[in-house]
């Protein structure tokens, strides 16, 4: 029998607000544990939460970006459970009246445009961190409360995802959106973007849902794809051998690529949600929505389309260049400095991205600024260097931040354009290769490339290709 998977993702994104969601503490805490705290986020008796309006702005940005509907009267609810890193014994979240309902996230899968519907987006506070001793029998678990009260949005998808790769693309697109909006740094490894996956299988053609499992501890987008792949395989194996999938929570282990059941005691929660009486209904009027809408930046899809139509670069290039906000900004900055989108695109797509991959760094950490890359391209266009030499210069620029003209003159990279010098070299090449000259003149014109190669070799690539080609052709055709 053939099965299909039914996958829904719950993503938590930590918002980049200056202060926490319900108190004035900094949300960008340093290393010192329990330093960014106050009576409110410590859950001291008598302290009360006050909603940070910036967190609402950020949630609204996301809701508008995915075409969701704003809940104009949304309610904060308490999610009650005991855990040492949850100081109040409850988490302030949203339950039946979230700030955002519906919307969708779109992506392209193998050339086909797909769209995954969202159930809801809601605001909540983060819990603290429990730091467990390496060996459970030794020492205490310590609690760092700094993260308590950091604002989060939870983005819950409908179970519309069918393959692990779709889950990968969905997350990639989601991460792209939050980064473009500037509301979350999108770092899954550091936990500022977190994902849980609900996975079930059913025979193809079946419409009712199978029993689902929830997979947690997914620390990278690739990890999500791998974990879901494993879990689908596991469920199919269980069902195929006559067994039944048990509803449970699993923890993914990236080291062996497998999912392991959580102890059942930890998952049998009744959270006893009820409206938080310390907070009033969050009322969002059209004016507030309009204000946020007016401040929305250009989103990935729109930017991709603009790159194609404004710069005339291929759709594929536009997609690559808009992968991250920083890369797209880098590209546009280069274009601004050199005025040639196609060259800029080519240089970034090939040279720059290759270096980033080699060095395993982000564009923001790249040694060559867009201004300097723009200058380099400008030099090519102005024939101040040849295309081949430009690559050498690019290599030098990775570790040499001096003025380009200084590097060019110091390293003798200026092109040989003097036709007298070139003619002498051409004469020498013709004298050294009588056989080839004869065959060329008999009609083997393909040998022209050989002579160009010889000339470039003789000039160490510094011959201006146009001048050199013309002189060479004129001399051979004599």
């Amino acid at each position: 029998m053939n099965y299909e998977a039914v996958i829904g993702l719950e993503v938590h994104a930590q918002l980049l607000t200056k202060s926490k969601i319900f108190c004035g503490c900094s949300a960008h805490f340093g290393q010192q544990p329990n330093s960014a705290t106050c009576p409110v986020c410590l859950g001291l008796p008598g302290a009360l939460p006050v909603l940070n309006k910036r967190a609402v702005d950020f949630a609204l940005k996301m809701i508008l970006a995915v075409g969701g509907r704003v809940g104009k009267q949304s309610v904060f609810a308490r999610k009650n459970y005991f855990y040492p890193d949850l100081p109040k014994g409850y988490q302030i979240s949203q339950y039946d009246k979230p700030i955002g309902v519906g919307g969708a996230i779109s992506f392209i899968d193998g050339g086909i445009a797909k769209s995954i519907n969202l159930t809801r987006i809601h605001l909540e506070e983060d819990a603290g961190k429990s730091l467990h001793p390496e060996n459970a029998s030794q020492g205490y678990t310590r609690v760092d409360v700094n993260r308590c009260g950091t604002p989060l949005i939870e983005i819950v998808s409908e179970p519309d995802i069918r393959t692990p790769h779709e889950a990968f693309l969905y997350l990639h697109a989601l991460k792209q959106i939050v980064e473009y909006l500037g509301i979350c740094d999108g770092n899954m490894e550091e936990g500022s973007l977190r994902c849980d996956a609900n996975v079930s299988i059913r025979p193809i053609g079946e419409t009712t849902l199978g029993t689902k499992t929830e997979v947690k501890n997914l620390n990278s987008i690739r990890g999500v794809e791998r974990a879901i792949t494993y879990e689908i395989g596991r469920q199919i194996a269980v069902v195929s051998s006559g067994g039944k999938v048990v509803q449970q929570t699993l923890l993914y282990n990236d080291a062996d690529g497998k999912c392991y059941p959580m102890r059942s005691k930890e998952e049998s929660h009744d959270y006893r949600y009820f409206p938080d009486p310390d907070l009033v209904t969050l009322c969002i009027d059209d004016f507030w929505i309009a204000e946020v809408a007016a401040s929305q930046p250009e989103l990935p899809i729109a930017r991709r389309e603009r790159f194609v139509s404004n710069y005339g670069i291929p759709a594929y290039d536009a997609e690559v260049l808009t992968t991250t906000l920083q890369l797209a900004d880098y590209f546009e900055a280069v274009v601004e400095h050199c005025g040639d989108a196609k060259l800029a695109s080519n240089w970034i797509m090939t040279e720059v991205l290759a270096r980033l991959k080699d060095q395993q760094i982000d564009i923001s950490e790249f040694a060559i600024t867009p201004t300097r890359l723009g200058e380099l391209i400008g030099k090519i266009k102005a024939k101040a260097i040849t295309g081949k030499i430009a690559k050498d210069l690019f290599e030098l620029m990775l570790s040499d931040s001096r003025d380009l003209d200084v590097i060019i003159s110091e390293k003798g990279l200026a092109p040989v354009t003097d036709s007298g010098d070139l003619k002498k070299l051409i004469d020498k090449i013709i004298a050294d290769h009588p056989d080839e000259v004869a065959r060329y003149r008999e009609g083997k014109t393909k040998l022209f490339a050989f002579f160009v190669g010889q000339l470039m070799k003789a000039t160490q690539g510094k011959a201006d290709p146009e001048t050199a080609g013309a002189l060479l052709k004129a001399r051979l055709d004599e």
Partner: protein, 473 residues
């Protein structure tokens, strides 16, 4: 006890020496603490430091605050920096808050002298003050009887003459009921009128800090100091504080006063009924108009109250887990840390309410209990709103009986819960209500009369309360 205004005048004029007044008062506190168990702590150092500051201000002719030199006792569920805030619970016995409640800041800004923290029912859960981890508070009118709860210590501090004014908190009658039993004035302000920041939560949607005082004027003075918007409490309202002294000059002539029939049924003590009827007759004579009204859902108020209050309490008290502050009992692992700490730290009534509250919020029961209670609460609110279209104020008894004997109801929680029958509705509806003493019963125990007004109309309570107080003399 002389009124707060008169005492302030005499202190500010230098007729009373701050030093000798407070020296005597603090030792009186010691003796009252021993006799009635009404105080959990006497804040000697803070009081004396404040006195020094006030003396300097006087010497330098600096402006004097509205509570200049006046002693105030504060219920022990209101955070006072650097002093234990115990909520009369073992679990918080050693908890010292690093911050002041908003109301404390306002008292200090008006030059009040905080002299003591008042005993109370543990976490404000109780109607008799027998639920304190530090022992019951005794009623100064008859020490075999309860003073009422949960602000029993604050009411006794006023009744015993330690202070003209004290702060209590009222979730279902916890200011008004002990005020009635101790023969003092007690006001539960409109929900949102006084900041809850720094008040240790029992039931957040019902809790309000309110004054207990020797007379209506003193209650109004203290209220006018503590009321007003606070950005640290999202549920606090923007309100304008009206001119209370002027309001209290007005007579009751022409006011329409409602008598809700549900508050005068079976179960109301005969002597209380008689003295309220006598008061009504006097007020009619002064030109007040009385109207029979009905609040039909009153019979569901107690059940509604205990479901909502306990639900919120079960969540509010989850933070006392032994992790961060307060008691941490001996334990072997995380679970036993939680269970041992909460087992040893909480008293029986607190545990009962946490259990009930957890139950009514549980999956499968939420709709039948919590949701239904919230629906009834909306209906009650509407009934109050409707009745205030017809009348200016409601007049009812505060309690069905006068102070009962210690131990009389402590084995029967349901009987105990019925002590709040006339007070809980105001909390559910969020409206302001005040208890004013109107006399004594045959056992010489104080009787309280309750006035209830519409949202943010404390002014009419002070106006009518002042008249009642005058007529009762």
């Amino acid at each position: 006890m002389e009124s707060a205004l008169e005492l302030r005048r005499r202190i500010a004029a230098g007729e009373i020496s701050l030093d000798s007044y407070y020296e005597a008062l603090l030792s009186e506190c010691e003796s009252a603490k021993a006799r009635f168990n009404c105080l959990t702590a006497i804040t000697n150092q803070l009081a004396m430091a404040t006195v020094e500051r006030l003396k300097t201000n006087m010497k330098n002719d600096r402006p004097k605050g509205r509570l200049f030199g006046l002693p105030v006792v504060v219920k022990d569920n209101i955070c006072l920096r650097d002093y234990p805030t115990t909520c009369a619970s073992k679990i918080l016995e050693n908890f010292v808050p690093p911050y002041d409640a908003t109301v404390i800041g306002r008292l200090i800004a008006e030059d009040a002298v905080i002299i003591a923290k008042a005993n109370m029912d543990e976490f404000a859960m109780g109607s008799s003050n027998e639920n304190s981890a530090f022992g019951p508070v005794l009623n100064p009118h008859d020490i075999t009887r309860i003073p009422g709860g949960s602000s029993g210590g604050s009411a006794v501090a006023v009744a015993a003459g330690l202070t003209p004014m004290a702060l209590g908190s009222d979730t279902g009658g916890s200011v008004r009921q002990p005020a009635a039993h101790c023969g003092v004035v007690g006001l539960k302000p409109t929900y949102g009128a006084v900041s809850r920041y720094g008040l240790v939560a029992y039931a957040s949607s019902l809790d309000q800090i309110g004054p207990l005082a020797c007379d209506v004027e003193s209650a109004a003075l203290l209220y006018s100091v503590i009321a007003g918007h606070d950005e640290r409490d999202s549920t606090s309202a923007e309100i304008s504080i009206c001119d209370y002294p002027a309001e209290m000059q007005k007579s009751v002539k022409g006011l329409r006063i409602g008598l809700p029939r549900e508050y005068f049924g079976d179960g109301l003590d005969g002597e209380i009924r008689t003295s309220i009827e006598a008061m009504i007759a006097q007020m009619k004579f002064e030109g007040a108009e009385f109207v029979d009204v009905s609040l039909p859902h009153t019979e569901y108020a107690i059940a509604t109250y205990y479901i909502i209050a306990d639900a919120e309490a079960s969540s509010n008290l989850a933070r006392y887990d032994g992790v961060k502050y307060g008691l941490r009992a001996k334990n072997d692992d995380l679970l036993s840390m939680y269970t041992n700490t909460r087992h040893e730290g909480f008293g029986a009534e607190v545990k009962r309410r946490i259990m009930l509250g957890t139950y009514v919020l549980s999956a499968g029961y939420y709709d039948a209990y919590y949701q239904k209670a919230m629906n009834v609460r909306s209906i009650l609110k509407r009934e109050f709103a409707d009745v205030y279209k017809v009348v200016d104020v409601l007049l009812t008894p505060t309690t069905p009986t006068t102070a009962f004997k210690i131990g009389e109801k402590s084995n029967d929680p349901l009987e105990m819960y019925l002590s709040d029958i006339y007070t809980v509705s105001a909390n559910l509806a969020g409206v302001p209500a005040m208890s004013v003493p109107i006399g004594r019963d045959g056992k010489n125990l104080p009787i309280g009369l309750q006035l209830t007004a519409k949202h943010f109309d404390e002014a009419v309570l002070f106006r009518v309360g002042k008249a009642v107080e005058r007529l009762a003399k």
